[in-house]
């Protein structure tokens, strides 16, 4: 079982690094080309979410991403230190279109508007995209696990 683990300071720039690594390893692990866009987006969502949580709760703690290449499947696990969003179970996101389209106050200024998208939105995107995904709350934090089928092409090359 070949594994790559990446841990990174909670900065937006490193979400790109994580995406890049996940994509390269998924490709080499034999995930279908058709699925690579999905891997890229899902990993990006999981890592952005983790970075956001760490930035507000524990900016010094690294976010951890594990890439696990098994015989016929490729799994990405992203671990953050936060508790799982209480109310939203991924998949049953029910966006209020009218509320989203409601005007901002005219004096909103140039700060980001608060709470544009409900908590759990990122997870909902992942669960809408990835057939095999799961979120668990464990002692070390929340684990988002996403699995894709693969055909093994990364046999160790004898040197």
């Amino acid at each position: 079982m070949a594994t790559v683990e990446v841990s990174f300071t909670a900065l937006p720039a490193h979400v790109r690094t994580a995406r890049l690594v996940a994509l390269a390893v998924a490709r080499r692990a034999g995930v279908d080309d058709d699925l690579l866009d999905e891997v890229r987006l899902a990993v990006g969502e999981a890592c952005s979410r983790a970075v956001g949580i760490h930035q507000s709760k524990a900016p010094e703690d690294p976010v951890v991403m594990r890439l696990i290449d098994e015989q016929d499947q490729f799994t990405v696990e992203v671990v953050d230190i936060g508790p799982l969003e209480a109310s939203v179970s991924p998949g049953d996101l029910d966006l209020d279109a009218d509320a989203l389209a409601a005007p901002a106050p005219r004096d909103a200024g140039s700060d980001p508007l608060p709470e544009l998208l409900p908590p759990g939105f990122g997870l909902a995107v992942i669960s809408g995209l990835v057939e095999q995904m799961g979120v668990t709350s464990e002692v070390d934090g929340t684990h988002v696990r996403m699995t894709w089928p693969s055909h093994d092409v990364m046999a160790p090359t004898a040197d």
Partner: protein, 113 residues
Amino acid sequence: MDLSLSTRTEGDRTVVTVGGEIDVYTAPKLREQLIDLVSSGNYDLVVDMENVDFLDSTGLGVLVGGLKRVRAHEGSLRLVCTQERILKIFRITGLTKVFPIHASVDEALSATD
């Protein structure tokens, strides 16, 4: 790949052409651009996403923010997108109900709905 942004005026509408990746790293730049446009009086925006090759929920959040800001002035924010992989994200999240999505800039410029 980074984010590229350019804007131009077409009649009473403003077209923002976005290229590259809209993600947690670049979304703040797009947000600033939209805020600048609104605060300088551009309330009818067309965001051309044909050259966007990555969009995540941070990017969606910025687009929703832009919509709310133009709505504060009875304006509009229309998207131009025909790329399946980008459209998919709007569909999954139900945001197709929130944004008018057009197949070309011309269509978005003449739309009145």
